[in-house]
Point group: C2
DNA sequence: GTTTTTGTTGATTGACCAATCAATAACCCA
DNA sequence: TGGGTTATTGATTGGTCAATCAACAAAAAC
């Protein structure tokens, strides 16, 4: 039965299963057995590849952040004006891949993990810093020194929308969140131009 | 040793200890024994008064929400203009009692609890609804129909600031959060007046 | 063709913990 | 003063689970 080169396949399955189980349970009290079962293998094999449950969580987190980062970069590459670059960050945050119940629940729990796991905290800080940085660089050409404050405000609104979505019953409303944050962006830009 | 009328005292101690332990651990994986020890009693007594760990969590949550609600009401009662009423909600959110590491960590974990515990979800939704409602009513007189959207935006920024603070190393920066959100409020108001 | 590496699992270990129980003691009222 | 109520805890129970181990199988290497 054992075919060669299974490691990357198994790891990917386990990471997907980890996110799915966290999303399903809504918290980190998921057992390695549950994750392994969903990924179609024994818990012993999960331990074989990741060493510990904690390591599985961190890998799942890194994966979510990587996918998110790729989405942002993709959207940014298609943007031309400063305003479009800011909108790209906002839109990527609420795009289908990232803004799903399952993934939102995972994000929420990663914040909890970051409270006690330094590596998780480090990863989330990198994400926060990048978001603010992306937004600041996008806005600086048209807003000058105010760019940083506005970037922080937009970042807060994005995170707030995620937290709000975590309480919503059905699928989250990406449209409303995008509209609201873009309205703020428009407002901030109009004021900057009226200066 | 047993004095009469201990129940309310014990309950209050346990609730405080629950919040402190969650804040200390950063997650909900705190044992009833830990909480009871911090509150100066045996775990059996904690079970005697609350029945279950879950009930202790919900009571702690209700307490945090009650304190927060009282803070908002107090600030609102001292406000006269619509703008001051909106600022009251913002300021209360970042006042010393609520915006402390310990309490912020508890909030974060209550969101996680809400993912699997209907009662916790209900409580948080009440809080969300009240915040938006307070802000909408404050802003309606000067913003008309836009009030609701702006209220949602401010609410998102408040929640986002909490999430951001949960990752901060030292004591959270209430000043910066308040300044940023009030700046947005000023912006929204100036646009409403320029209409 | 045998040895090493990679893949895989059932079973076990060791620890932890929520909840319950039995027992003790102080307080209050009739 | 003695039975009901409230306060309190040490010990136990029953269950869960992360992590490890021993063992087996297939592929690769030599």
């Amino acid at each position: 039965m054992p075919k060669i080169g299974m490691e990357p396949i198994r790891r990917a399955s386990l990471i997907d299963a980890t996110i799915a189980e966290i999303g399903n349970a809504g918290n980190l009290e998921v057992t390695v057995s549950q994750i392994a079962r969903r990924a179609g293998m024994s818990s012993a094999l999960a331990h074989h590849y990741f060493g510990s449950k904690e390591a599985m969580f961190v890998s799942a987190m890194r994966h979510v952040l990587t996918v998110y980062g790729a989405g942002v970069r993709g959207a940014l590459s298609a943007a031309e004006t400063p305003r479009d670059r800011a909108r790209a960050v906002i839109r990527a945050s609420f795009s289908g891949v990232n803004f799903r119940r399952e993934v939102i629940a995972a994000w929420l729990n990663f914040y909890v993990l970051a409270q006690s796991l330094p590596e998780a905290r480090r990863l989330l800080r990198v994400y926060q810093h990048r978001t603010v940085s992306n937004l600041t660089h996008a806005l600086r050409p048209i807003m000058g020194p105010q760019a940083r404050e506005v970037a922080h405000s937009i970042a807060a609104m994005i995170d707030g929308a995620y937290l709000h979505a975590a309480l919503g019953g059905d699928e989250p409303d990406a449209k409303a969140a995008t509209r609201r944050i873009e309205a703020y962006l428009a407002l901030a830009l109009s004021q900057a131009h009226a200066r």
